[in-house]
Symmetry: C2
C-alpha cells in the first residue's frame, strides 16, 4: 500500500476559495486501477498559511505512478495552476510506503 | 473523519532500528472507541534524515483527543523517548480534518 500526499500552504483569507476549487473539481479517480481512496485534508493553521493536503491511498507505488502517466491524471490536473494566488509557495509532494496497517475492530 | 500524523526525522543508518522499535510494539489501539486504522509510513529520504510518519484515522477529532487522554494511550507511549538517538530533532504532530472522501470502485 502507498500513500501520496501533496502539501499546500494556503494564504490567510484564501481558505474558502481553496476549498471551493478542490471540492468542486471532478477527480476522475474512481475507476483508476489500484486506486483505493482520496481525501482532501485541512491541517494546522500557522501565522502565514493554513496547511492543506491532498491524500490518496493506492494498492502500490506502481499503481500511483501509473496514474500520474494516465489520461485520468491529465484530466484531473488540466486546471491546475489557475489558482496560484491562493498559495504561499509551491506544493510539496511526499510519497509514503505503508510498513504496517492496523485495523480497528469496530 | 480525522487523520493524526506524527512526523519523525530518522538519522541516516538508524532506519532499521526505528522500524524495529515501531513494528515490535503493542499499539493497544484495536478496541479504542472511534479508532479506524493505524499505518506506519516510510516517506522520502533527505540528505540528513529519512522521513517516517505515524498515521492514524479516527471517526472524529474528538475520538482522537479522547484516546490521547486514555489508559491505552499511556500504555502505547510508556517506552517513548528511549530511542532518542534515532532522531534528528523532535517529532512534529499534524492533525487533519477530512473535508472530502472519494472511494475507488474496485
Amino acid at each position: 500500500m502507498f500513500i501520496a500526499m501533496n502539501r499546500f500552504r494556503v494564504l490567510p483569507g484564501q481558505e474558502q476559495a481553496f476549498e471551493e476549487v478542490w471540492l468542486g473539481r471532478e477527480t476522475h479517480l474512481e475507476d483508476v486501477p489500484g486506486f483505493v481512496s482520496f481525501q482532501l485534508l485541512r491541517g494546522p493553521r500557522a501565522e502565514d498559511h493554513t496547511l492543506y493536503s491532498s491524500h490518496s491511498i493506492w494498492a502500490s507505488k506502481a499503481a500511483f505512478e501509473g496514474w500520474t502517466k494516465s489520461e485520468a491524471f491529465r484530466l484531473a490536473h488540466r486546471d491546475a495552476g489557475q489558482g496560484k494566488a491562493l498559495y504561499a509557495g509551491h506544493p510539496n509532494f511526499e510519497g509514503f510506503e505503508v510498513l504496517q496497517d492496523v485495523r480497528g475492530r469496530a
